[in-house]
Amino acid sequence: MDFGSSSPGRPPRVTASRATSAKIVIAGGFGVGKTTLVGSVSEIRPLTTEAVMTAAAIDVDDASKIPGKSTTTVAMDFGRITLDEDLILYLFGTPGQTRFWFMWDELVRGAIGAVVLVDTRRLADCFAAVDFFEQRGLPYVVGLNCFDGIQPYTTQDVRDALTIGQEVPIINCDARGRESTKALLISLVEYVLRLRGAAPAGVGS
């Protein structure tokens, strides 16, 4: 006799007793291709998560002038890469508007590092992100997104323009290309490991 009533259609359970996640932040100006880059390696179509900034986080004077409008919604696109059966990497795009700094704080907390995606035709768009990561001490690499396969500036031009150190990797990339995005992410993690190797102080239990 069959007493069992299994639940059909339910996917097999992934045992997550030891599952670990990590995240990398993808930053850059509006329209530079952050979501495209996330989508090029993500195993899911990039999702959007929203954070609501309440009046407490807005400049009080501003909020009080707008009755009934005490919140602002900030959207972030993100993707997921399962690297191993118990290891998932998330890529979080920063909100397009850099004035929403409150969200950046949460984004960088615990992050491995960041990729700053740059459109060299609008170099100034990435200044805010570079400044923020420098200030927070979050390691970052710079990806120069080649639009139409054209990159009119050398990486040294960009390094000079952004006044960033020689040690920060700057790489030409194509945000649409999976291999290109993989190479960017690999260079970031290698860079972070190099930094840790160079500064073993602080390693301890």
Binding site: V14, S21, A22, L47, T49, T73, G110, S205
Partner: protein
């Protein structure tokens, strides 16, 4: 002037009504923290509120807090409060992300690197 408040894709209740008006979780859960349903969650989901049922269903597979928020269509803060409540009720396991600030962090980075190279 016409005012249009209808959002056809949105939830039927204001988001924070799902959390009893609370906007902060008692526990701080990272957006990339991994969440899975427990056996208790599976048992008790049937008699739980609708969004709790949805979350137990979603979390048959490992999901991050950010994914739960995205699939539910709620702001991150709302999902954080609900997931925190459910974890407290023993219906979900929450795994905080791997820490990077010690030797285990270096090991984690090496695993991430090797995983990316194998993609």
């Amino acid at each position: 002037m016409s005012t249009e408040y209808v959002d056809q894709s949105g939830p039927l209740v204001r988001p924070y009504a799902m959390t009893g008006g609370r906007t902060r979780s008692r526990v701080d859960i990272a957006m990339e923290a991994l969440v899975t349903a427990t056996a208790r969650g599976d048992r008790e989901a049937g008699s739980a509120r609708h969004e709790w049922q949805r979350i137990v269903e979603l979390c048959q597979q490992v999901q991050s807090l950010a994914e739960i928020a995205a699939y539910l269509g709620t702001p991150l803060g709302v999902a954080r409060v609900i997931v925190g409540d459910m974890a407290e009720a023993g219906m979900l396991d929450v795994h905080e992300p791997g820490r990077l600030d010690d030797q285990l962090g270096t090991y984690l980075l090496e695993r991430v690197l090797s995983g990316l190279r194998k993609l």
